[in-house]
Amino acid sequence: MDLAFLFRFLSSIMVITSVAIIEIRDLRRSSYAYMVQSAILSADFSLIAMMTGEWHMYLWTMSSLITKVLLVPRAMIWAIERTGERSEIRPVLPLTASFGLEGAIIISLFLISPSVFPLAESRFPSSIPISLVLFMIGIFGMLSRRCALKQVLCLCHMENGVHLFLASLAYRSPITVEIGILTDAIAAIVILLYMAIRLKHVAGTLDTFKLSLLRW
């Protein structure tokens, strides 16, 4: 099969997994959806490596397999077990409204991204709207969900979008840069999960809308 077609196909499946990550209420299953998305992302990285011949993209594939597919979902499940929070706290929006907004985000970003981003010379033009969709849906999820763990998952999801953008546009950047960016992303997620567990133990809730001890 044509590699470029495979790349486009896998990238579009990422959009479906991203809706799944946001909409599945069971936190454990949602983390598995994230795992699937990260696996697709790693496959995308290796496709980029094959198409461009940049050997260090294989290293990136390896590191994202280890961190995003193995470590982050494991850490998520560890946090779910430590907090005893199996299912998400009821989100602000009902399911239909949430689906509608996600659809609107996806369609509008696919429509506007070619005109806003003058990066048409890129070798992987299809990944620009997809990474933007992942990013914006992550932000949408973060604003509309109340559960702290779900918000962390939305952040991981946003970072998948940023990393797809980085890999498909800046695949020639030095390896040290990529290691630095990935390390920071993972460290931020681990710190947030640790703080979510502490919050559950100290404040007794993971509902971020109830975190209103500090106002004004």
Binding site: L169, R172, I191, L199
Partner: protein, 452 residues
């Protein structure tokens, strides 16, 4: 190699402090920040108009970086002298605190000397990650809540900045080549880069680092974090952490200093300045009040940056002065926190009133000069100038009212802890800068001359 040594000395200090006893750890913390201050001063004195590059261009020493690095190491030194007197932590937390304080210092100094646009991002993100456990060191629900908001908002903001950085890099790769990852190369070749692509990238970068600098729509983490962190940590966060993100904004803004990016900075700046100064009114918690004052002052700096011309020079000058005095204000308020609730020792009241009034922009301070300088750059736009003056005067009156009320409203007495001397150092420095601003302004002017 001075810049590298300057940023590595706190890293060595932080690692060493893990293996030391309580007293030695405090001394190690003070020593390593003293060494980095000495190196930063040397770097600042030796800085030339043309930026010096080290390690195949990854490390840069220029006016803006040296100025910010000098301020960072000074404020961290004051905070590490202040901390042992201010609080008595239990052993485990004590080790974490001094380890993270120096690690935080290392990440901030590294932001100042990075020339690689991605490394700037990596280190700004690292400043968030290394400082969050300093904010939550008390471990109670409110501090955890503040820490949670801090990490979440800043990480989201910085992802936006990463988007912008990638866009910038792609554009640079096209026109400049592999070396386009270095900021110095970008600034040298900024005329051959595509204007529209640069503008889009710079807007993303301003929005992203703006979260970390505390600009208006994303400033919510600032008051929570500053009020919940221990006072010496708040002084570092408010004094120099936002300077690091301002440095990133300034560096990238200079690549495309006009058009949409400049209007965006003017808009964000004026809203932040107005909102910050109005939110200060009626704020009973002094640390939250000072946080809103940071929002206001970053707004003023962004107005200067957006207005261009002489405004850019004065906005960099303003951020420096603000860092000095904001940390002085936090540290002197810490003295009031330490004294007896009913009484205020005269020495503490003196340092409190001095730092608050200078922070408000009372004439001998550097802030007066920089606010005046920014005003001259916006004075042609009447509406902008009026809004600017409203925010400046509101902030001055709220700060001086609160200083009088807290400092003079209670009977004198009680024994003061000697920490009230610490904030006087930076207040005195700010007065000295207000009286003799020319050496500093010359460094900034030379830096801007090289960058344009």
């Amino acid at each position: 190699m001075i810049p590298v040594l300057m940023s590595l000395s706190p890293l060595v200090g932080s690692l060493l402090s893990l293996f030391l006893g309580r007293r030695q750890r405090e001394i190690c913390c003070i020593l390593s920040s003293l060494i980095s201050l000495i190196l930063a001063t040397t770097a600042f004195i030796s800085v030339k108009a043309e930026p010096e590059l080290f390690l195949s261009g990854e490390i840069i020493l220029d006016g803006l970086g040296a100025l910010t690095a000098f301020l960072i190491s000074l404020i961290v030194l004051l905070a590490s002298v202040y901390s042992p007197r201010y609080m008595n932590l239990e052993e485990g937390k004590h080790r974490t605190y001094y380890f993270l304080l120096q690690l935080f210092n290392f990440t901030m100094l590294s932001v100042c000397i990075s020339n690689n646009i991605f490394l700037i991002w990596v280190f700004v993100e690292a400043t968030t990650l290394s400082s969050v456990f300093l904010v939550t060191i008390r471990g109670d629900p409110t501090s955890l809540e503040a820490g949670w908001k801090y990490v979440l908002l800043c990480t989201v903001g910085l992802s936006i900045a990463l988007f912008g950085t990638v866009m910038l890099y792609v554009e640079a790769l096209e026109r400049v080549g592999e070396s386009g990852i270095l900021w110095t190369e970008l600034i040298k070749n900024k005329n051959i880069l595509n204007v529209k692509a640069m503008e889009t990238a710079v807007i993303f970068i301003i929005a992203g680092y703006g979260v970390k600098a505390g600009l208006f729509p994303f400033h919510w983490w600032l008051p929570d974090t500053y009020s919940e962190a221990p006072t010496p940590v708040s002084s570092v966060l408010s004094g120099v952490l936002i300077n690091c993100s301002f440095l990133a904004i300034a560096r990238f803004y200079l690549l495309s200093p006009s058009g949409v990016a400049s209007s965006l900075l003017l808009l964000l700046g004026i809203i932040s300045a107005l909102f910050g100064s109005i939110a200060m009114i009626g704020q009973a918690n002094m640390k939250r009040l000072l946080a809103y004052s940071s929002v206001e002052n970053m707004g003023i700096a962004c107005i200067g940056l957006g207005a261009g011309g002489v405004g850019i020079m004065f906005s960099i000058f303003h951020v420096f002065n603000h860092g000095l005095l904001k940390s002085a204000a936090f540290l002197s308020w810490g003295g009031v926190e330490k004294s007896n609730k009913a009484e205020v020792p005269p020495s503490v009241a003196f340092s409190l009133i001095l730092s608050f009034i200078l922070l408000g922009g009372c004439p001998p301070s550097g802030i007066f000069l920089s606010e005046l300088g920014v005003l001259t750059s916006v004075v042609r736009n009447v509406l902008l100038a009026v809004a600017y003056l409203i925010s400046v005067f509101t902030s001055f009156s709220v700060l001086s009212y609160n200083a009088m009320e807290r400092g003079l409203g209670r009977p004198a007495g009680g024994n003061s802890s000697p920490i009230w001397i610490v904030p006087l150092i930076s207040s005195a420095m700010s007065i000295a800068i207000g009286l003799y601003p020319s050496p500093l302004l010359r460094v900034i002017e030379e830096f801007l001359g090289g960058a344009s």
